[in-house]
């Protein structure tokens, strides 16, 4: 196991590494390379790197055209600026079945001080509505490296969701990324905590806190939000009867939405959805996780309350902590 890594950093390293061996890989930037970690790829492979300026609509279309000519484009920007070009993603990438990898970084309130305008909070929900776009959110540096390895081979459009902040490593170098497959990281019988990206670590820590209260919580990592692993979710719901989803994303339409859709069809169970309600705000990331109810401590409190009261939970009001 290695130290804390921001998943955007792991992505940048993986891209450089893959770029050495796979000459079809190209990268596009909209003047944020230093933040989305594509700058090193650009320095090493200037002939396969396209600086598009602050013009993301064109950038996504250009990526689609590069994919149509047989290249494997990674087009990276802040998730909030990516989602602003939803029509280009829907048409030029999705409908064209273009082999584009869209990378959205700086997701969630976890970016901290920049505040709401720079926080990707709706990206999973939007991407999930496009029929053929794979949506992947890795939880650690190693999982990111393996997910990017996978994406170099994936056929069809894909969206990769990455954090600005560092996350603790949970996996070893022998970790295998299985597209579309969730993974149970901790077994438990009373409730299942479902995390994705940064909230996987929070969920694991929340399970420790719950254990101290005598609650046995399972924890699952859902790195692929679309297509979601309905088999795993149905199995967990059947065994624990209570599900809590945790995401650093709008509580509407993201992981929680995807889990509810899958369970409603397969294995109905009460689901407590934890995520961002209302707009984001500036602050220290840890403080914001606390305020928005997705820190380990707040997850444990809300999960315990959920178990006591059944489906009734005192949720934090929109826009307040």
């Amino acid at each position: 196991m290695s130290g804390d890594t921001a998943t955007r950093t792991a992505f940048g390293e993986a891209l450089v590494r893959l770029g050495e061996s796979n000459k079809r890989i190209v990268a596009l930037d909209g003047d944020v390379a230093g933040s989305v970690m594509t700058a090193e790829f650009g320095e090493k492979h200037p002939d396969r790197y396209f600086q598009c300026g602050i013009a993301e609509s064109n950038m996504i279309g250009v990526a689609s055209g590069l994919a149509m000519s047989g290249h494997i484009p990674f087009v990276a920007s802040f998730a909030c600026f990516i989602t602003g070009r939803f029509d280009q993603i829907r048409m030029s990438v999705g409908y064209n079945r273009s082999n584009v990898r869209i990378v959205g970084t700086h997701v969630g309130v976890g970016i901290g001080s920049d505040g709401h305008s720079q926080m990707g909070l709706e990206d999973m929900a939007l991407m999930r509505t496009i029929p053929n776009i794979a949506v992947i959110q890795p939880a650690t540096g190693i999982e990111t490296q393996k997910a990017v390895d996978y994406l170099a081979e994936h056929v069809g459009p894909a969206y990769l969701r990455l954090t600005r902040q560092k996350l603790p490593e949970l996996f070893g170098d022998d970790y295998r990324f299985e597209f579309g497959k969730g993974r149970v990281l901790r077994e438990g019988t009373d409730v299942a905590l479902i995390g994705t990206g940064s909230t996987v670590t929070e969920a694991l820590q929340a399970a420790d806190l719950l254990e101290q209260q005598g609650v046995s919580a399972a924890v699952a990592n859902i790195h692929t939000i679309a297509p979601i692993d309905a088999d795993l979710l149905a199995d967990l719901a059947g065994r624990t009867r209570r599900i809590v989803t945790i995401e650093d994303h709008s509580v509407h339409g993201g992981l929680g939405g995807a889990v509810c859709e899958a369970l409603a069809e397969r294995q109905p169970a009460p689901v407590l959805r934890l995520g961002i309600r209302g707009f984001g705000e500036s602050g220290d990331p840890a403080e914001l996780y606390e305020r928005f109810g997705i820190s380990a401590r707040r997850i444990a409190i809300q999960a315990a309350s959920f178990l006591e009261s059944g489906a009734e939970v005192a949720l934090i009001a929109e826009g307040s902590a």
Binding site: V26, A55, S57, G61, A67, M68, D87, N96
Partner: protein
Amino acid sequence: MPTLTQTNDVEELADIARRIRVLSLLMTSHVKPEPAGHPSSAMSAADIIAALHFSRLRWDPLNAGWEDRDRFVLSKGHGVPVLYAVYAIAGAIPSDEIYTLRQAGSRLQGHPDPTRLPFVEAATGSLGQGISIAIGLALGAKADRANWRTYCMLGDGESEEGQVWEAAMFAPKYDTDDLCVIVDNNRIQQTGSVEHILPTLNPIVDKWKAFGWHLIEVDGHNIQAVLDALDEAAATKGKPTVIIAHTIKGKGVPEMENSEHWHGKAPPPEKADEWIKEYLS
């Protein structure tokens, strides 16, 4: 190797353009449950498209996936009857397939869909997007040192989209001299004339020049002039070319020409037959 027989004969190309107009009217007028589509947008582009597809564009009506083909992206995707007509004339699709336009299950969608009909190259129809795809194709060819060219047709109304100008600003940076954009400058858009909707789109010529493109202005109904412009574009090095082609919306049917009423509308079959007989036979 392409199976298409191409020609430099201007009269022959003009006759192909006439047939493109006939088929555009026929296919849109026969859409069920009611006539639908954009025949007037196809008719303004018919001479340019005939000159390109039957004289200069390297493509193979029997092999859509021919690797060395030139790419053509119809950014003004609503004008797609013009391409379906080309494919029917060239034998790329059965001639009666045009009557499946806009019907469930058809390869001939209301706007281009390359997964159903690979000849159309790119799905377009949300305006402003095709030009960026075309630039990506041109960059891909350049990176591979391939020798095929990329063409893209824009509408003038379409050029009100901000993405067009993002693209215009971007393409010259990478010396995309194998890219040729053609603006079908027919001066009429959905709810009125460009002059009325957004007059400051013009002077459009100055805008493209300011972004560093090699610019050629032509009468888009003068086939020899269009051919010469395409040749000048192909010979231009170091920068992409834009051809501003001045055209007449609905060209070929006087009732439709320059008529704001006929944007995005198709005549009923009996009216189409009447006009074809009177003006396009």
